[in-house]
Symmetry: C2
Subunit: 235 residues, 2 copies
């Protein structure tokens, strides 16, 4: 895929020809705030009750990878799942904003894959370890600034087969509710992202898979899957 596009950034907009393979993650956020269990269908498949308030967790910025980068399967887990999600990108420092005013603090939207070691999520109770491995936050392919987030179809495909289908109209807590809710807990900074949750159909990834998250009006986030090779400070 290639084309000519406005590559949006916090420091302005540049027009350039690009190929999909050239793209990095459009933002490395200072924080990635995530919402669990926000589509009715996913709550049912996880056997949970409808929540009164959003359930939050954080992913570290070191988990971010870009389009076409590979998700790496860590040796600690035997079950790593995709979770396709709409991500909100924050425009400016935002604290204690109302739902009605929240749109003024949104730069745009991108696509995220909230990759999750499902076995560790069950084992730990707290979700942080399961969701924080390096490469577990594919982001991109760009930030779309001109899209209505309230009614967007989302699909996740593995090796070309559709595994998740949802629509942001089915979010229990919508984008502007979430921006407001999170802003009343922690100051949001320019470039921070909020992941809005995943619809039903989550499932495992294997080495060699290609996972694609598509969101109407934004684009496609494509990532391969490989085993993690340990090349740490101990190598």
């Amino acid at each position: 895929e290639e084309g000519e596009a406005a590559v949006s950034g916090l420091n302005g907009v540049n027009w350039k020809r690009f190929s999909y393979e050239d793209l990095d993650a459009p933002i490395i956020p200072s924080k990635a705030v995530c919402v669990g269990l926000n589509y009715r269908s996913h709550i049912e498949e996880m056997g949970e009750k409808l929540p009164e308030e959003p359930t939050l967790f954080l992913k570290p910025r070191t988990a971010v990878i870009g389009p076409n980068d590979s998700i790496l399967l860590p040796p600690q887990s035997k079950r790593v799942d995709y979770e396709g999600e709409l991500a909100v990108v924050i425009k400016d420092r935002t604290y204690w904003v109302s739902e009605e005013e929240a749109h003024k603090h949104v730069l745009g939207y991108t696509i995220a894959n909230d990759v999750t070691a499902r076995d560790l999520q069950s084992k730990d109770g707290q979700w942080t370890r399961a969701k924080s491995f390096d490469t577990f936050l594919p982001l991109g392919p760009w930030i779309e600034t001109d899209v209505d987030p309230m009614n967007l179809r989302l699909r996740t495909l593995v090796n070309g087969q559709v595994r998740q289908e949802g629509n942001t109209a089915d979010l229990i807590f919508d984008v502007f509710y979430l921006v407001s809710f999170v802003s009343k807990i922690m100051t949001l900074e320019a470039g921070d992202i909020i992941l809005t949750g995943t619809p039903s159909g989550v499932g495992p990834l294997s080495a060699g898979d290609e996972v694609v998250v598509e969101i109407e009006g934004i684009g496609r986030l494509v990532n391969g899957v490989k085993p993690m090779e340990i090349v740490g400070n101990d190598r």
Copy 2:
């Protein structure tokens, strides 16, 4: 309190005269990785079982305040607790390091207060909201580079009364185990911190309190407590 001290930083060491009131947080980490339930005594008071592995969670960098800054009590919670903790400061980019080699990647140690909205922690199941409010991560007063972390007395005092007493010798997972464990999940970056857990004696803070966390060989982290005044983007 005042004195002459080496004010350590990642870009070198400067000697200057200072008063305690001048100090800011010694580091704003790219991430703060925290460990729950790591002192036997605190696990017993929370009614939990001894863990096989550390339980991790993250606090956002926007929660950091310095010595003498005030902890702000948010309107969403009726019960905000102190948790005095030893914090490890990472020296350089560290990935998949062994317990034996971990000390090479530690810059030093500082004091942290893992402030927690206990009522929201119980309500949410996930701990992130309860621990992520602005001002909920007092850090300081400085980074001590020459201290053995394996046998340090820790005390927390509220209005001069001792509420927590512990010793890092009682950690289930010690400092170097934790650096290794976390580094095998997420790449640690220079200035990242790992909070090592809190001993028994956690309890509530009220407006007007002064909370002090003391760690032998490091110093004292002093913070006042005030109600949060809402001065957000909606003001």
